[in-house]
Symmetry: D2
């Protein structure tokens, strides 16, 4: 087999709106005293010891996101819930452009309603939900997929918010996980897309009221997703034209774009 890569210089940024935490929601603070982003980042560092993992939040200048920082980022994780509308459109443009140019994006839980995800999907991204703290089972339906490597079938999460179908997203390019809930609902909980030169993975487990990002199997999935979403052949230049010149015949007669 191919010896698993030990990524030496994978650059990851974990973004979190960080609102539940800063306003002091008791349950959230209990599970995530330093913010959801810090626990997600620690989970990534656990499995990717040589990666460079940093964080960014809504409260920072420019929400912690600049063109320069994204140009040096291989994979961006995104967690948001109550403050989607507070994310500036300029930052959303940067994120979407970076994905088109090859940056990986991993969208978590209620991030299904975030501006960058909706922009990349082109659908409403609505879903059915009910928060009764019930058991979620995460079943693998693509056993050969690298994002599913090393996790049990199913992953068992004792208490979770229910997310259910119909999930209004485009048909996934790859479906990795399906979740069921004690109430009988089903959800496409791990779905992958290509957008331009970038890869997008949406993974639903992870409500703020439950300690899901402390779960060892979930941390493994997130780390697998980081590896999978990273650009294959190096970071691309984030130019206005995301398609480098080597994608053209050299006769100069053809033009890409407008």
């Amino acid at each position: 087999m191919s010896t698993p890569t030990e990524p030496r210089d994978l650059h990851i940024v974990v973004w979190n709106e960080n609102v539940h935490e800063t306003r002091g929601d008791a349950t959230v603070v209990e599970h995530y005293p330093h913010g959801i982003h810090t626990v997600v980042a620690d989970g990534l560092r656990e499995h990717l010891p040589h990666a460079d993992v940093s964080t960014a939040t809504l409260q920072e200048p420019d929400h912690g996101i600049t063109a320069e920082r994204l140009a040096a980022t291989d994979v961006l994780f995104w967690w948001g819930h109550v403050a989607h509308d507070e994310v500036s459109d300029a930052v959303v443009d940067l994120v979407v452009d970076a994905v088109h140019a090859g940056m990986g994006l991993v969208v978590l839980h209620s991030g299904h309603y975030s501006k960058p995800f909706k922009r990349l999907m082109g659908t409403t991204c609505s879903l059915k939900w009910r928060n009764d703290g019930e058991r979620e089972l995460v079943w693998t339906i693509a056993p050969e997929h690298p994002i599913a490597a090393g996790v049990p079938h199913p992953i068992v999460i004792d208490r979770q918010e229910m997310y259910g179908e119909y999930f209004d997203v485009p048909r996934p390019d790859e479906e990795v996980f399906l979740s069921t809930f004690a109430g009988g609902e089903v959800f496409r909980s791990g779905v992958a897309y290509r957008r331009g030169l970038g890869r997008v993975f949406y993974f639903s487990p992870g409500d703020q009221e439950y300690p899901v990002y402390h779960h060892p199997d979930i941390r493994r999935v997130l780390s697998n997703a980081a590896r999978w979403a990273a650009p294959v052949s190096g970071r691309r230049e984030l130019t206005a034209d995301p398609h480098p010149r080597d994608w053209f015949l050299t006769d100069g007669a053809g033009r890409q774009g407008a």
Copy 2:
């Protein structure tokens, strides 16, 4: 909207191995005294009053399947369970060739292990199962799909055998339904494929021990599937070369096939 088609001359054959019934398995005979095929056929006639629906069983000469009959068939339904190996390879060849040439095929329940389905899929088609007579919920994940027209979300089947992932089939071209079971398992219960000029739909609800084919929503799904699987532009000639000559440039220089 487009007025729903009233198919005038849709020709449907419902095939059943008919072994549980002929050997007198008590529960099966109770639900299906004249065979599963007759109940499936009645369900189709209910929603497709102008269709020509007939049946065929393993016990008939040639299992009731000849090249001539298939050439006049738009959609073949297939139910089998304990006698897959008794189906002659010659008949399997006829069915597979007919699908390649444009005939629709709807494979039911334990037909996932039938020879024609395995031949068309190229995988083991294995799955996880457990028969505890528990509740199955059939959720629609492609609400715009014609096979899902007119059914509730979810369809509720009170008692059923459990079929669960991992279901070893190729990635579906279209996923219409996902089922969950009281035990927490999940299954891709309604999946669609194209093979050559033909369409294939696999639908898992329908164990012999439960009266699933009497369920009004299940009958509607089967009828929708018959309409969907029928050839779009007329029945094709079942020649050795399934690709009619009009699929070629007329210069005669190119050849299809060997």
Copy 3:
């Protein structure tokens, strides 16, 4: 076979920016003296004699597009080229919402850069192009697809603008046509997507400088596409929530959307 539907009340609107024509570009006016939209509409009427086909242009109030009109529209055709930016965002919102709610959308040629298409795709939709008036061959790679019914393999267009890969769109749900050009380029010229409850078809043949929409095979494709894109189970209410209540369990415990 299923007798081909004769749609009684298919409601189609053909939208055109109508700028080349109104400003008097000589070649365009020669081929399309009353506007591209009128020729596309005539082509649809030719094959769909019972359909209600109307037109709309950028120059009309609200560009001829209101919520009421879209609510009564099964399929919207969209042709635009030099005035994409002049289409108001309010109208784009209406079109995108209507697609999510079930309206079909057929995007033509340089409409790949239109606001509604880019919004629904989530990518740059850029492509390679060169206008040398060369031969385009349109090959069918999904012979069973209804949009390909009745057209030769390949369709030959004597003179056309070249559109070539890389075409920066999401992986299509269905690929119907591939085009090649005399210069050797290739293009995914007929691709289909689902977005919410609506279907989207992009078809590239049709530059304003060549009489492509007078071509009998192209007119057949457009008519096939109109039938295919129409909602399957009736026009939906265009409410804020595109997912009718029957998509929920009736226990009232679950909620769709925010």
Copy 4:
């Protein structure tokens, strides 16, 4: 970015029917004096210096393929043309089972008609062809795909046999390359599938009459394909049940397969 993997112990077998060569077809012997397999193997070694690359041919006992050898193989390359029928069904069974259990398979050129490929596809795999020694252009339509890494757009092959659509295969899970030919035809020349736990890549360039496997860009594609097709999480045991026990709930109540 993720530092490109240097596979230390990738085990590759290149299989060739080796009939053109052993019977002394002049043009073939000129390009491939020691057999096509040796040139393909050399190309792989060039880009994968730490891989273990060996060869096998039809003429060897068991065609050089045993269960033991496949159990130690990560990726099998397959080239065949005039002797498909001479491959024993027992060997085909071994190959298909190995793919289901996770072995990668890369099928080359006229291998589209090989028994293993047809078995894994479930279709006729027929195509259109014409041998006029004309120019083939291989265009990338999945620029982010690892199999396309490092190759120009397009790859130019000066003289080749034409393979054209309609190519009767299932819809690919991933399309990487499209080829055009001087005659105007088009072909899906690089397509990827998952079958069970294994990955399958079909790549059409490579007729025996042209020195295609000496082409540096083609050699890079083959090497990329070897990396991509290798099992992600280690070689699996080739047991009768390809799905290891860890794919089950541990309550013992459910069973996979028959």
